[in-house]
C-alpha cells in the first residue's frame, strides 16, 4: 500500500483516539464557565505538565525549529533555549497567577488585568490584542500539518488537506468539553510527541553510525552552521534579540499558556507542572536541533527550509511505520496548540469583550454559548484562511518560526501591564491602554511594511515604546490605590505563607 494510504490511516487512528479521550473528558465536565474554560481549577500534576508542554510546543518545534536549524544553524537552538530559560520567570509568576486566580475567580489573564487596573477596557484591549496576534500563530500550526502530510505523501496529499485536518480536529476538541477535553487530549498528545521524537532520533543516529559519528560529521561537514553569526551571516545579535525577546516572555504574554497558570489544583501540582515542563522542553529542543543538523547533512539546499522535517521523514532509511508515527506526533503538537488557542480566545471574547464591554448582564449560559458556538468556529475559520494564504509564500518572513515569533511580538505589548499588576502599585489603566495599543500598532506597522530601523526587529521597537508609555502615562495618571493595596497585600501574605519568592 502507498505512503498516502498509510498517512491517512495514521491520521484516522489518531483522530479516533483523540475523539474518544475528548468524549471521556466530557463525562467529567461540570457546569459553568469556570469548568468549561479552566476545568474548575482542578487539573492534576501530570495532566497540567503535559497540557502546558503540548500547548507550548507546537508544529513550531518539529517543523519550524527543525527548518530554522537546517537553514540558519545553531543560533536557532540558542533562540529556543532562551525561551526555555525564560520559564525561570514562572517562579515569580506561577504562584501569583494561581493565588489571585483562586481568590478572585479569574478565568482569563485579561480578566485579571481588568480587575487589577479597575477597567473593563483594559480587559477588552488585552483580549483584542490576543485575537489579532494569535491568528497567525494558530495558522502556522495548520501550515505545519499541511507541509508534513504533503511531504510524507511526496505531494500526493495537498498542503491544504493537511490544513483542513488540523482545523477540524482543533475545532472539535476545543468544543467537546472545553479545557478538560483539551487538557486530556493534550496529555495524550504530549506523550505521543516526546516518545515519537526520541524514537526517530534513535533511527537517525543509527543511520549515521551512532551519536559519535553523527557529531563528527556535523563538525566536519557544516562547521559554518555551528557559530553565531553563521557562515552566511544569519543570527546577528539584532536578529537574535528580535526573535528571542518575544519568545522570552511567551510564558506570560501568550494567554493560551498563561491561562494554564490558573488550572493546577494545588501547590504540589504546580511544582510538578513546572518541573516536568523543564525536562520535557530541554529534551524536545535538543532533539529538534539535531534533526535540523541531520537534514543539513543529508539533503542540503532545500528551497523551503520548513520542508526539512517532512523531507527527513521521506528518507529511505526511515521505515514508513516510524515516519507515520512521527507524523502523528507532529500533528498532535500542532493540534494541541490550536485547540488551546481557540479555547483561550473564546474565553476572552465571552468574558472580557462580550460580558465586559457589550452586555455586562450576560449570564454564564450566554457566555458559554457565545464562546462555544461563535468564537471558536469563527476564529478557526480565520486561522484556516490565513494558513492557506501564507502556505503559498516563501522567504524568511513566511517560515514557521519567524511567523510564530512575529505573533508573540504583538502579544509582548501586554507584558509591562502584567509586571505592573504584580510588582508596581503605580500602574494605571491609562498607562496600560496607551502602552498596549500604541505598542501593538508599532509592531503591526513595522511587520507589515518590513521596516527595521537601525536593524532592530518590530518586537524590540514595540517593547521600547510600550515600556516608556506604560511608566510615563502611569506616572501622570491616578492609580487604583485601594485595589492595588488589597491585591498586593493579599499576595504578600500568601506568598510568605507558601515560602514563594
Amino acid at each position: 500500500m502507498s505512503s498516502t494510504f498509510w498517512a491517512w490511516f495514521g491520521v484516522g487512528v489518531y483522530v479516533v483516539i483523540g475523539v474518544v479521550i475528548a468524549i471521556l473528558a466530557r463525562r467529567r465536565m461540570g457546569v459553568g464557565v469556570s469548568d468549561f474554560f479552566i476545568a474548575n481549577r482542578s487539573i492534576g500534576g501530570f495532566v497540567s505538565c503535559m497540557t502546558y508542554s503540548a500547548t507550548t510546543y507546537s508544529a513550531f518545534m518539529m517543523i519550524g525549529l527543525v527548518g530554522l536549524v537546517y537553514g540558519t544553524g545553531i543560533g536557532s537552538m540558542g533562540f529556543e533555549l532562551t525561551y526555555l530559560a525564560g520559564i525561570f520567570m514562572l517562579v515569580f509568576f506561577l504562584p501569583r497567577f494561581w493565588l489571585v486566580g483562586h481568590k478572585y475567580g479569574y478565568i482569563s489573564p485579561a480578566e485579571l488585568l481588568a480587575d487589577r487596573y479597575q477597567s473593563k477596557w483594559v480587559g477588552g484591549t488585552a483580549a483584542i490584542l490576543a485575537l489579532v496576534f494569535l491568528v497567525p500563530y494558530g495558522a502556522v500550526q495548520m501550515m505545519g500539518v499541511g507541509y508534513l502530510m504533503s511531504g510524507i505523501s511526496q505531494g500526493a496529499i495537498p498542503v491544504f488537506a493537511g490544513i483542513l485536518v488540523s482545523f477540524a480536529c482543533a475545532l472539535a476538541w476545543s468544543r467537546i468539553a472545553g479545557m478538560r477535553s483539551v487538557a486530556w487530549t493534550d496529555a495524550f498528545q504530549a506523550l505521543v510527541m516526546i516518545v515519537t521524537c526520541i524514537v526517530l532520533l534513535g533511527v537517525v543516529a543509527h543511520h549515521f553510525g551512532g551519536f559519535g559519528s553523527f557529531f563528527s560529521k556535523v563538525n566536519s561537514t557544516i562547521p559554518g552552521q555551528l557559530t553565531v553569526p553563521n557562515a552566511k551571516g544569519a543570527w546577528s545579535v539584532n536578529m537574535f534579540i528580535g526573535l528571542a525577546l518575544p519568545w522570552l516572555f511567551f510564558c506570560v504574554s501568550n494567554p493560551q499558556v498563561s491561562q494554564r497558570l490558573f488550572i493546577p489544583k494545588s501547590v504540589t501540582t504546580m511544582k510538578q507542572m513546572l518541573g516536568g515542563f523543564f525536562v520535557f522542553g530541554l529534551i524536545y529542543t535538543i532533539i529538534c536541533t539535531l534533526f535540523g543538523f541531520s537534514g543539513a547533512l543529508l539533503f542540503p539546499g532545500l528551497e523551503k527550509a520548513d520542508m526539512a522535517m517532512p523531507t527527513l521523514l521521506g528518507q529511505s532509511f526511515i521505515p514508513l511505520a516510524i515516519a507515520i508515527i512521527i507524523m502523528v506526533g507532529i500533528l498532535a503538537a500542532a493540534i494541541s496548540t490550536i485547540d488551546s488557542i481557540l479555547l483561550s480566545l473564546s474565553s476572552m471574547w465571552a468574558r472580557d469583550i462580550h460580558k465586559g464591554l457589550i452586555n455586562t448582564k450576560a449570564t454564564e449560559a450566554r457566555q458559554l454559548s457565545i464562546g462555544q458556538n461563535w468564537v471558536i468556529p469563527i476564529m478557526a475559520v480565520i486561522a484556516l484562511v490565513f494558513a492557506w494564504w501564507a502556505s503559498g509564500k516563501t522567504g524568511l518572513a513566511f517560515m514557521i518560526a519567524p511567523l510564530s515569533s512575529a505573533a508573540s511580538a504583538g502579544l509582548l505589548m501586554i507584558v509591562p501591564a502584567i509586571f505592573g499588576a504584580f510588582f508596581w502599585k503605580g500602574g494605571t489603566k491609562q498607562g496600560v491602554l496607551a502602552s498596549t495599543i500604541v505598542g501593538a500598532i508599532v509592531v503591526l506597522v513595522f511587520q507589515v511594511t518590513g521596516i527595521k530601523p537601525l536593524g532592530w526587529w518590530p518586537g524590540v521597537w514595540g517593547a521600547i515604546v510600550c515600556v516608556i508609555l506604560f511608566f510615563g502615562v502611569s506616572a501622570v495618571t491616578k492609580a487604583p490605590k485601594e485595589k492595588a493595596e488589597e491585591f498586593m497585600g493579599y499576595l504578600k501574605e500568601k506568598l510568605a505563607e507558601g515560602k514563594f519568592i
Partner: protein
C-alpha cells in the same frame, strides 16, 4: 538584598551571558563544543536555579 530581587538579578545575569558568550567568546569556535555546548549547559543552570527555588514551595490554601 531580598530573595525576590536576588532571583531577578540572577536571571538578568543569565540573559547577559546568553548573548555575550556565544557572540563574543565563541563566535570563532566552529564545532559542537562551542555555542551548542554552551547553550545546553547555560539552560541547565537556569533550570537548576528554578528547581532550587520552587522545590521549597509549601502547600497553601488560597
Amino acid at each position: 538584598m531580598s530573595k525576590l530581587r536576588g532571583a531577578w538579578v540572577w536571571f538578568v545575569f543569565m540573559l547577559v551571558l546568553d548573548i555575550v558568550i556565544p557572540w563574543a567568546a565563541l563566535t570563532h569556535v566552529q564545532t559542537l563544543g562551542g555555542a551548542f555546548t554552551f547553550w545546553i549547559i547555560w539552560v541547565i543552570v537556569a533550570i537548576i536555579s528554578a528547581f532550587v527555588i520552587f522545590t521549597k514551595w509549601m502547600e497553601v490554601k488560597p
